[in-house]
Every structure is written in C-alpha cells, then in structure tokens.
Symmetry: D2
Subunit: 282 residues, 4 copies
C-alpha cells in the first residue's frame, strides 16, 4: 500500500493478505491509485493452461459438467518437522490460502470462481516440535477437502495437502465435458491430456500433448516442441504480462480486484468449515 | 431371499438392494438362515489391493491422515445416450450406489467405512432422449462429490462420475501417511505406486510396483511377475474366496452384514445431499 | 513328432526346437501328417496387437519405415543366481531363442520376418555359481542386440535381455510410419499408443487407447472397456484359435511352417554373431 | 578458428564439423591457442544426468552390462516436407551427426565413448519436393540403427530418427547393471527412473525421481523439488560451466579434444555403414 501511495506499480506475491479486510483495503488503494497492481499467480501463464482455455473456448470438449482440482506438496509431511510461521493461525488457514489460491487462480482464468463452497479442513499432526524445545500446537490446517459449484451446471472438488509425501509440485486438474475430457498435472507442466469423442471409436484415448511452438508463447523460448519449459520460464512470461499491463496493453494478469475474489473464496471456505454449511459467493 | 429360505448359499451382485429396508431384510434373512451370503465385490480381490493392505498393516507409510477415491466411467457420458433403467430413481441414487459401492468396498477392507459423510450429487444432463421418442427427465445423479472422515484422524474425498469421457474403468486411490504414500488406479490394476521416506533423499520417488508372485494369489495364475492379471482373474479369486467361506474357512468376502454397512453409507450420502449437512454413521 | 505320427493334432511350446535340423524335421512331419501343428505364441493373440494390425492395414500411419523391438525380463539378472539348464548351449543361444522368438512372432503377424539380420550376442556374467559348488561358465548369451531389415523399406532394431533388472515382462514395440506412429509395451498389455498427423496441430499427441469391446475378442471377456484382460485370457484366445485351426476354420496361429521361419531367423542371428556379418534370409 | 587465432575463447555449436579433417584442425588450433574451446552439448548439464552419473559412481546399480540409447524427433517425418540443407550430404550423414552426437555426449560423460560400432543408416524417403519445383534425392540418412560396445563388458544399441512422428525431443536412455537399472527420457527431463534390488522384494519397482534441490545445481533455480527446470535452464548451466572453464576452474564441459572423439565415433559409424563391418575406435 505504501508503494501504491508512492505512485509505484505493484506486483505482489500471493496470497494477497491474511485477512479479508486487508485484501479489501489493498484493492481500494489500488483502485484509488490508478496504478497497475497485480498478483504473482504464475501458473496461469503456462502455455498448456492457455491451451486448455483455447480448447474450452472452442467447445472441443463440449459443455463442462464436472471439475476436479488437487494441489499437493510434502514440505510439511514429516510430523517431526519443527513448528514454523506457516503453522500459525496468523499466517492464515493453512492449505487453502498457502496452496488453494493456485488452483483457484486456474479456475478463475478458465471458468470463473466458485458460486458456492463447502469445506472440511483437517490437521494431520496436532502438534510439532518447537525449535526451542517441547512441542507446540499446530494452529491451522495442512489438509483441506472442498466441494464447490461453478454455477448450477458444474460440480467440483478441490483437495489440498501440504503433507502429501512424494508430491513435490502437483497441481492436478481434471475437466469433464459433454464431448471430451482434459487432464493436467503441474509436475509434468509441459504435458496436457485430451480425450475427444470425434476420434474413431476403436482409436479413442487420452492424447498426451507435448508443449511446443503451437502453444504460445512457448515459441519465444524454444523453436522445437517437446523441449520443455521450466518454472522460471513461467515467471518470465508473467513478467512480460505485468509489463504489458503497465503499458496499458491487454494482459493475462490477476489484478488486485480479481485477486480479492480469490481471497473471498478462501475466506468463504474457512467460514464454511467453521459453520459446516455451504457458503454462497456472490 | 427365496434362495436363502430354500437353504442355498447366496452370492449376490452389488449393490445389495435399492432400499435400505430391503438390504436390512436380506441381512436378517441371511443371519437367520445360517448360510453363506456374500456380495460380488471383486475389486477387493486384486492382489495389489491386498498388497496395499499389507503395506498399511506393516506401518510402511506410517499413520494415514488423508485418503482420496475416484471412480469414473463414460458409459453415460454421451448426453444423447437414450434414457434407460439406470436413470430411474427406482434404480437408486445413481453414481453412489451404482459406482460408489466399489471404492467403499476398498475403504472397508483397508480402513473400515466412513464415520461421517457430506455429499453433493449432481446431474450433468437433466434429460435424455426417450427410446419411444421425445425426452425424459433423468431421475438420479450421474456425478457425486463426497467428503468423508474415517474417525477423527483421516479426512477424505470421493469423486464419482458415470459421465467422465475417456475413463473406462478408473478406480483411483491415493493414501497419504506420516511416512509415505500409496497411489493406485484400477485401469492399471497390475500396478501400485509406493513412496517411502526411507529411500536415500536424492533417490526418493514413487515406485511403480508390478504385480507378481510376491503378491498372492498372483502366483496361482502366472509364475512370472509383470505378466498381468485381468478382470476375470479377480472374479476367479472371488469364487475361490466364496467357496472358502462356504467351507467355513477364513475368507476375504464382504458378507451381507458388512454389505449392509456399505448400503448405510450410500443412504447416508443420499440423505446428506438432501439435507445439505454432515451425516454421522454409527 | 510321436504325437503327429500317432495321428494327433499338436500344440507345441516355443521355441520350436534347439537345432534348425529338428525344427525342419518337425515341420516335415507336420506336413506329412495332415494334422494341425501349431506353436504356443500367445502374445500375437492380444487384441491390442490385432488392433495394431488393423491400424497398419488401414494405412492410418502411412508407410512404415522403422521398427524397434525390445524384450526384457530380470529372472537372470542376479549374477549370483545359480547356473541352470537355460545357461547351457544345449538349450540354445540364450536370449534370441528363449526370448527373441516372441517379438519375432509379433513381427511375423504384423510385417513378415526380417529379410536380413546382424546380431551381437553378449554375456553379462561369464560364470555363475554351480548348485553343486564352485562356478560354471555360462555357455550362451543373456543379452542380444540385433539390427534387421524388413525388405528394403523398413529398418529396425531388436534388443533382448534376460538380465534387465526391473523389467518383468516387457515386450516393447515402436513402429514409425509416414503418417503416424505406434508404441506398445506388454507390461501394459491393455494399452496402445497411437500418434496420427490428422489431429489438429496444437492437439496432436500419442493417444493411450485402452483395450475394450471395440478390439475383438475383448468383447467375449468383459462387456466394458478398460477393465483389463490378463495373460491367461490371451492363452484362452490362443486355445480358441487352435481349435478353429483344427476345425479347418481361418485361424490366427503360427503353424510349424511359419514357426520354422522364426527358427531360421534365430539361427541366422546366431550365425551373424559368429561371422560378424549381415545374414540374408530368403 | 579465426576466433581462436584472434585470441578469443570459443563456445561452438555441435556437431563440431562436417568432416573429420576440419574437426582435427579445429582441435589443433584450440590446443595451440591455449584458449578455452568447448562445444554446446547442453543435455549433459541436466541435473538428472549428473544424478545418473552419481548413481553409477556410487555403485548403486552395480556393474553395468547393457545400455540403450534412442533419440527421436519428427521435424523431417513428413515425406512432403521440402528438401533443405540438412538433407544434403554436405551437411553430414544425417541422423548420426545431427542427432547422434547428443546421446554420444551422454555416453561420454557417463561411460566414455564406444570401443567399437556397427551402423546401418537408412533413408525413409528417397526424395523430397524441391522448393523450386520437382523432387530432389535425399542425400543422407534420417534414420540410423547402431550397435556398439563400451569395452568388452558393456553391449549397447543406439537408434536415431528424424522422422519419428510424435517424438518431439526424445533422448531415451536405459542402463542395466548387476544390481539395478536406470531409465531416462529427455521429453520428461525432470524425471529419472531407478530400480534397485535392495528394496523389499514385494515392494520393488522403478522409482520416478523428480528433480529437486538434492540434484545440484537445480537448487540454484528453484528452492522446491518437482517444480521443473526447462531447456533454457540447461543452457544457463552450460554458460556457467563454460565460464568456469574460462576461469580455469574444474568444469563440466566437452572441449574440442573430447568433442573430436565424438566426431571420430560419428565417422566410424559412417564408415561402418559403408563397409558393413564393425569399426574399432581407439
């Protein structure tokens, strides 16, 4: 906010803020400033995610009826890993804001955000060793299980875990439509699975599409397909989009306004867990 | 029930019955008869599912904290596939009793059934063409999204779809523990993924274990590993277990009593969906 | 041969014989008898191999220019596994007749046998422990590396190992044509990979086709796709084909005459290795 | 050579030169200059290739007895793709120098180069359309099939194709040892497959190791495992190594002297094909 007030453009790491009130203040400040204020959602920049968007837009898999999201890592999977700031309630709910915002950003660019959510947050390990000795209660939830709906037509689930041994950077996406299906896993971010019903019946199957120059802006990085973009290339694409936003060009970014919607979904999940009921999102 | 009354042993296809009252009557009849009365849950017979049980029992992946289940096929994925008996409410809720009972049977033999469930059932296609002309409203739910808990320690999700283009016989299982993880997919029923933390850090990864003579009763079918058992081999194992049950030997079967528990879980899901609240299972 | 002379039909395990002279005598005896005399090449019966044949016949991948074959198991991979009869020269060359005949049978039904071969046979372990104590020299070759041609148009390689740790029943096949490619691995015998150039450029990829009722005679075993046939199902299909052959119906079998061609290819490989030159096959 | 004579360090694209005489002159010039002269073999820089080296050095898979290499792309797979400079004999043999030098560079850093080779080069398409009209004969070989030995202990095969539809950047490597096996595919350059015999027998399987900070210098790019390095990251690592070489530090580079050995292997393959015999490499 200080940067915005100082007349600077702002590129802010996600999650936007721990409290919804802060996120709202930040959004208001951004709107007042007239400056570019965007969030660091880099996974939406993957050419394969853009390709999923193109496939959906062209109607290749028909009308979508069901979506599944998973995000898993294992950096908190060891029950004897010491308590640290991410285990404090002051750092947020845990998996949903630390992690869930990433799959939510994918939902946002592909479909828009959920219209309602139902969440069950859980603590695999109630306490962890303290660095200073003894043990300390874990204050937030490393695992989250969420049902959602994207309007009346699309049902979905989102599963998140920071304690999933063996998963290192998994963001899995499954999209089912009336004419086909899409599957994607961030651990193989250069691949996309597509099933369509227009192939000859005896030859139908999920196609493993390898990223390549046909999936812009891959072509700006390597001239040949199947040669692999990396995590940092997605960051470079993100930089480019941020610069386009600053230059007033159409840009693929999640600005504070849209980021605030993601925060609202996160807090609706938290509230749903507390109240054990569906929470509507306007 | 007629068979039981006639003094016959009974081997009954799943789901047990459409109504809970019928399932309860069948169970009472079985108990009264003193005969063997079991259900046709063949997937629990897969040597790889037994191997998962062994891995869990030996503590190889530690204490389990999270479980995910998926079951998907595409035989109702075409929105223009004609209305048939499985679309009638008289045939049950749809995905949860037609399908969900399979992953529930895996849960039952590995962990026991859920202690509570929260379900969201959905209809991808509100109506279908009638064979006699016109269209008819679909009466049950081809897609189901369920949260569950296995006691206070284990959270989970179960996703079911009969309209998942490209999925032909998927029953996917992910189990996360304090020392490792397990993943399994029925479309590759001769494989099992295991991640453990005891491997050297730079060499840790999910192992793809191929079924073989080390995973009984695979050894009764083929002497060499990696040569593939099929769906019908699982049925043969099931026959063998049914015969053992009849002979009074310890057998891996789901009898009517245990099958009734699965039905109770199914109906709790249906009720949870109607009442939009968590349903406890005793 | 005694069976043939006694007027019996004969179904004989592969390889046909250790020496070419024996294989020729067996073939002559079969021809003289007028009886059905076939070899137990079960892998050609896999519906997915038949599907590969259909894809080739329909020209879906155009004109084939290159083929790669691999067959690997690990039952001799332990250098301390004791010497046994399969290590004796009296049992044949080793990998090429114990193993190579399987991929050769696939070649035969898909393309016909090689027109010329060049082989390099190798011994990973020069000796093995004797069951009676001491060590004994291994007399044949557990690993074989072969170049071949299928007429002037198709080049190929075949790699065989009985000492390939981790491979349990791998028979991998890669076929490259002017319009597409096919890949297959026997460890996942219910899957087939197909790449065609007629898909939209941004959506091209290898399709993972799951075996199903569209791939006869899968439909005789399971009514739904993706439910997995096993090794023994292939044996059942083979039985059926043998019975058809006996009944005088068109049958997918490798009879002694065609089996003799496979033996000739094996012995040409052995001779090529000894003489370190290309061997032509008529 | 002009650059070397002008006292510059040289970083040269591979292949080194079309003729062996040129490569020798370049090497002599580099030696005379005292400058750093290295070749752009970027795939040896992949942390997963370094990890393979570490696994081999530690004896984790025992004594290696067999190696298989494949390199495939499809940029010449269309028979109607117009004739261009890479189809001219003046550009070299085709697949072996355009492509084969990459897998040879992996062999060189992991094992050293072959002690002898036997090659079969082939032309999938004898002619191609000329940009100026008509058709022109293809002068070199898009496909190559090679047998090799790495000393008396290790046999191997190398298969190369520029006409392999669907393969975009495949460099596949299989290494078999007395205690385990390694498999790798460049299209999934962040993964490594490792099979060891020390795992519990019922739980043995190929592990899919995801690249991460345990595999330096991955840690310089991303702090978390499984987040994917890309092609250009390997180029960055290569730059770093070239700079280290210039600074006189130990560096992982293939200098002109070692590059000349690769060229000698390539030309031995060409000669082997012409003379249809094994060619020894000193």
């Amino acid at each position: 906010m200080a940067a915005l007030e100082a007349g600077k453009h702002v590129w802010c790491e996600k999650p936007m803020a721990v409290t919804l009130a802060d996120a709202e203040r930040m959004t208001a400040a951004a709107q007042a400033s007239g400056k570019t204020a965007v969030l660091g959602y880099n996974y939406i920049q993957n050419p394969m995610i853009r390709q999923i968007g193109a496939i959906l837009a062209e109607g290749t898999i028909g009308t979508v009826n069901h979506v599944r999201l998973e995000m898993d890592e294992d950096f908190m999977a060891d029950p004897e890993a010491p308590f640290f700031w991410k285990n404090e309630l002051a750092a947020g709910y845990g998996a949903i804001d630390d992690f869930g915002v990433h799959p939510l950003s994918l939902l946002q660019v592909l479909f828009g955000l959920p219209s309602r959510v139902f969440a069950n947050l859980s603590k695999p390990y109630p306490d962890r060793p303290n660095r200073e000795g003894g043990r300390r209660s874990v204050e937030n939830w490393d695992v989250s299980s969420i049902l959602f709906e994207l309007g009346p037509e699309i049902s979905g689930l989102m599963a998140l875990s920071r304690t999933a041994w063996g998963r290192k950077g998994r963001i899995a996406l499954q999209i089912f439509g009336s004419k086909g299906s899409i599957a994607y896993d961030q651990e193989r971010l250069n691949e996309l699975q597509l099933y369509v019903t227009t192939d000859k019946p005896s030859e139908q199957g999920f196609r493993t599409i390898l990223s390549g120059p046909r999936h812009p802006p891959y072509d700006r990085f390597v001239p040949a397909a199947g040669h692999t973009l990396g995590f940092n290339d997605l960051k470079i694409i993100e930089c480019h989009e941020v610069l386009r936003a600053i230059a007033g060009e159409p840009a693929r970014v999640i600005n504070f306004e849209r980021g605030l919607q993601i925060e609202r979904a996160v807090h609706a999940m938290g509230q749903s867990h507390r109240e054990q009921r569906w929470l509507e999102l306007s």
